[in-house]
C-alpha cells in the first residue's frame, strides 16, 4: 500500500508547483470547457423546444380541426304531425307508426314555408338541406309521445352535413356554383332561415352517444368506445394474470439454465414483434382454427393480450426484481415457504410497479389498430355492441375509417375521434402516474 506514495513526483506534479492551474493557458482551457458546457446545454434545450413545438402543432391542428365536431347545425321548422302520413288507420299501432312516412311531414312543412319553390329540383334541394336522419328524429318523437299526432310543433331537425359545413364556415361562398356542394338557392334559403333565427349550432350529444353512420352529421363514437372497452377487458383479464404468473415464475422460481435463458431472450424478442404479425396470428388461430366470430372484441382482446403479454412480463419482472432481497431473506429466515414469501411480501411490494406497467400496456393496446384490421374489426357498424362476442370496432379503427371517408364532414369527426382517444389515453397515463406516486416506497 505504502509503496505507491514512494518515488519522485510526476511531471504534472512538478508543474503544479509552478502554477499549472493558475497560468494563462489554464484559464483558456477552463474557458473552452465552460463554453463546451454551454453549447451542450443549448443543444439539449433546442431538442426539447423542437419536440414541444411538434407536439403543440399536432395538438393545435387536432383541436382546431376537431372542436367544431362537438357542435351540430340544427334547423327549426314547424311540423304538423298529420295522421294521414303516419297513422292512416288511426289506431296508434306501434308498428304502423314505425313505418310512417315522416319525410312527407318535412316536405309538406317545407312547401308551406317556401311556397314559391315549385320545381322538382328545387324541392329536392330544399329537402336535401336536412339530414337523412331527420325523419327518424320525427319518428322517435312520435313513438315517445303519440299524443303529438294531429298537433303542430316547432322542431329542431338535423341539418345535412353540407349545411352544417356552410354554417361552420367550411364552404366558401365564392367558389363557382357547379364546384360547390350547395347550390346558390340552397345558400339563400339557409340565409333566410338564419335571418329568422331558425338555424343554430347546438351541442352535438349524438357524437358521444351514437354509433357509426354513413352520414357525417349522424356519427358517434360511443359504439367504438364500447367496443374498445370490451376488447380491453378481454385483453386485461387474460394478460394481467398470465403476465404476473410468468414474471413470478421466471424471477423467483425458474432455475437459471439454458432453457430459461432461451425463454427470456424470446420474451424480449416477442416484445419487439410488429403488431400486425399478431393480427395475422389471431386471424389464423382464433378465427381460422378455433372459429371465433370475426370482428368480435373477444378475438381482438385475445390478439391484444398476446401482444401486450411480453411487455407486461418484462414490466412485472422489473418491479419484482426491484423488491430488495433482504425482504425475501427476512421471510425465508422466519420459515416462510417460497410461495408464502412471494405472495405475502414480494408481490404486494411489486404490485404498484406491476399495475403501472399494466396500465401503460393497456394504453398501448387501446391505441392499437393494425392487428385489429386483420381480424375484421374494421366493419361498418351502426349498433352499439352489447357483448364481447358481437361485432364491434374500436376507437383507433373508427378514427381510421372516418379519416378514410371522402366527405368534408368527416374531417372534423376524425379529429374529434382522435381527441376522445387522447382523452382516454391521458386519463390512463394519469392513473399510472398517480399509482406510482401514491405507492412509491422508501426502504
Amino acid at each position: 500500500m505504502t509503496e505507491m506514495a514512494i518515488g519522485g513526483p510526476l511531471e504534472g506534479e512538478k508543474r503544479a508547483a509552478s502554477g499549472i492551474h493558475t497560468s494563462e493557458a489554464a484559464k483558456l482551457r477552463l474557458k473552452s470547457r465552460y463554453s463546451a458546457e454551454r453549447r451542450f446545454k443549448l443543444y439539449g434545450i433546442a431538442a426539447i423546444v423542437f419536440a414541444l413545438a411538434a407536439l403543440a402543432t399536432l395538438l393545435f391542428t387536432i383541436l382546431g380541426n376537431g372542436v367544431t365536431a362537438f357542435q351540430q347545425t340544427f334547423v327549426r321548422i314547424p311540423i304538423s304531425f298529420e295522421a294521414e302520413a303516419i297513422d292512416t288507420s288511426g289506431k296508434r299501432d306501434i308498428d304502423e307508426l314505425r313505418r310512417g312516412d315522416y319525410a312527407a311531414l318535412i316536405r309538406s312543412s317545407l312547401s308551406k314555408q317556401f311556397p314559391d319553390v315549385t320545381d322538382r329540383l328545387g324541392q329536392r334541394q330544399l329537402f336535401g338541406m336536412f339530414s337523412a336522419g331527420a325523419p327518424d328524429q320525427l319518428r322517435d318523437m312520435v313513438l315517445a309521445e303519440p299524443g303529438v299526432i294531429g298537433q303542430t310543433r316547432d322542431v329542431w331537425l338535423y341539418a345535412s352535413s353540407d349545411v352544417d359545413m356552410l354554417n361552420k364556415g367550411f364552404i366558401d361562398r365564392k367558389t363557382p356554383e357547379q364546384s360547390r356542394r350547395l347550390s346558390d338557392r340552397q345558400i339563400s334559403w339557409v340565409d333566410t332561415l338564419a335571418s329568422s333565427k331558425a338555424i343554430e349550432k347546438r351541442f352535438n350529444a349524438r357524437f358521444f352517444t351514437g354509433g357509426d353512420s354513413r352520414e357525417p352529421e349522424l356519427v358517434g363514437v360511443w359504439g367504438a368506445v364500447v367496443g374498445s372497452f370490451f376488447t380491453l377487458m378481454v385483453c386485461l383479464s387474460l394478460s394481467l394474470p398470465l403476465g404476473i404468473m410468468a414474471a413470478i415464475y421466471l424471477e423467483e422460481f425458474a432455475p437459471k439454465n439454458r432453457f430459461t435463458e432461451i425463454i427470456e431472450v424470446n420474451i424480449n424478442n416477442l416484445a419487439a414483434v410488429p403488431s400486425i404479425v399478431y393480427g395475422l396470428l389471431g386471424l389464423a388461430v382464433f378465427i381460422g382454427f378455433f372459429g371465433f366470430p370475426r370482428s368480435a372484441p373477444m378475438v381482438g382482446g385475445l390478439v391484444l393480450a398476446l401482444m401486450s403479454l411480453p411487455v407486461m412480463i418484462i414490466a412485472s419482472r422489473a418491479s419484482i426484481r426491484a423488491v430488495p432481497p433482504s425482504i425475501r431473506e427476512a421471510a425465508l429466515g422466519l420459515g416462510a415457504s417460497k410461495v408464502q414469501t412471494v405472495l405475502h411480501h414480494v408481490l404486494p411490494l411489486a404490485m404498484p410497479g406491476i399495475l403501472t406497467g399494466t396500465i401503460i400496456a393497456m394504453a398501448h393496446a387501446l391505441g392499437e389498430t393494425a392487428p385489429l384490421l386483420m381480424i375484421g374489426m374494421v366493419a361498418f357498424l351502426v349498433d352499439i355492441p352489447s357483448g364481447p362476442l358481437q361485432a364491434a370496432t374500436v376507437l383507433p379503427v373508427q378514427v381510421f375509417m372516418w379519416a378514410d371517408s371522402a366527405e368534408r364532414g368527416f374531417v372534423e369527426k376524425t379529429s374529434a375521434g382522435i381527441m376522445v382517444l387522447l382523452v382516454f389515453l391521458l386519463a390512463m397515463n394519469a392513473l399510472a402516474i398517480f399509482l406510482r406516486k401514491k405507492f412509491e416506497r422508501r426502504w
Partner: protein, 266 residues
C-alpha cells in the same frame, strides 16, 4: 486486550450440544469458501464467530439454517446436525429447520408493515396462535423479551420501517423470537448501530441465552469477549481455533488467532 467470558464453564464439564457440524465444506461454484469445518454449538451458550473479512463466517452461519439454499451456485457438503438430525438430509423440511433455527441479519430488515404485523407474521404462518388474544400475547411477549416493548407499545400499528436503526434491529430480534426457535443466528447484528443501541442488544443477547442457543458473528473483539462463552476463529475458510472465549482471548494456541485478536493482521 483481555476478554472475560461471563458464565461458568469449567474444564471437563460436559455440556449438552445443540448442533454438531462435521467436515462442512461450502462451494460457491468453483470457489471453495469453507474447508472442512468441525464446530460444536453448545446449548444455552453464546458462540461467537470471529475472523477477518471474507473468511467464511457468514457462509458458515447461513449453513446452520440452510439459508444458503437460496443461492443457486452454493453447494454444501458434510454433516450439520441439529439435535441428532442432519438438517441437510433428504427428508428434512427446510421450512421446519428455519422455524427451529431463526436468523437476525446484519442490516435490520423489517417488513414494510406495521410493528405488530412484523412480529405476528412468523407465528401466523406457523400456526402458533389460536385466535387473536393468543397472538397478541406472543407479540407483546416477544417485544418485551427483545426489550422494545416500552418504546413501541403505544404505536404497534405504525410502520416497522419508521423505527430507528437500533429499534429496527430489536424488532427483527423480536420477530425471530416470536417463532419460538431453539437456536438464533445473528450475523453482525450491531454493525449498523451506535454504542448505546449496541449495549442494549448485547444485554439482550445475554438475557436470551437462558432460553435460546445463540451463534453470533462479530467483528468486534470486545463484543465477542463481552457476550460469548465460546469463540471460534475462522481464517481463509478454515476453522483455526475454537474454545472458551476466555481461553481464546487470553491464551490462544494458534499464532494466527493471536495475531488477529491483538490486531496485528486483518
Amino acid at each position: 486486550m483481555n476478554g472475560n467470558g461471563n458464565g461458568a464453564h469449567g474444564v471437563g464439564v460436559n455440556f449438552p450440544l445443540k448442533m454438531t457440524n462435521r467436515k462442512v465444506n461450502v462451494f460457491y461454484g468453483e470457489k471453495h469458501a469453507l474447508k472442512g469445518v468441525d464446530l460444536d454449538v453448545r446449548a444455552n451458550h453464546v458462540t461467537a464467530l470471529i475472523g477477518p473479512s471474507g473468511c467464511g463466517k457468514s457462509t458458515f452461519l447461513r449453513c446452520l439454517n440452510r439459508m444458503n439454499d437460496t443461492i443457486a451456485s452454493c453447494r454444501v457438503t458434510g454433516e450439520i446436525v441439529l439435535d441428532g438430525q442432519d438438517i441437510y438430509a433428504k427428508e428434512i423440511d427446510v421450512v421446519q429447520i428455519r422455524a427451529r433455527v431463526g436468523m437476525v441479519f446484519q442490516k435490520p430488515n423489517p417488513f414494510p408493515k406495521s410493528i405488530y404485523e412484523n412480529v405476528a407474521y412468523g407465528p401466523r404462518i406457523h400456526g402458533l396462535a389460536r385466535g387473536k388474544p393468543e397472538l397478541d400475547e406472543i407479540v407483546s411477549h416477544s417485544l418485551k423479551q427483545a426489550g422494545l416493548w416500552n418504546e413501541v407499545n403505544d404505536r404497534l400499528d405504525e410502520q416497522g420501517t419508521g423505527l430507528s436503526g437500533g429499534q429496527q434491529q430489536r424488532l427483527c430480534i423480536a420477530r425471530a423470537i416470536a417463532v419460538q426457535p431453539e437456536v438464533i443466528l445473528m450475523d453482525e447484528p450491531c454493525s449498523a448501530l451506535d454504542p448505546i443501541a449496541t449495549a442494549k442488544i448485547e444485554e439482550l443477547i445475554d438475557e436470551l441465552r437462558k432460553h435460546y442457543t445463540i451463534v453470533i458473528v462479530t467483528h468486534s473483539m470486545q463484543q465477542a469477549a463481552r457476550v460469548s462463552q465460546r469463540t471460534a476463529f475462522f481464517h481463509l475458510g478454515n476453522l483455526v481455533e475454537e474454545g472458551d472465549t476466555q481461553t481464546i482471548f487470553t491464551n490462544p494456541k494458534d499464532e494466527r488467532t493471536q495475531g488477529y485478536i491483538t490486531g496485528r493482521f486483518g
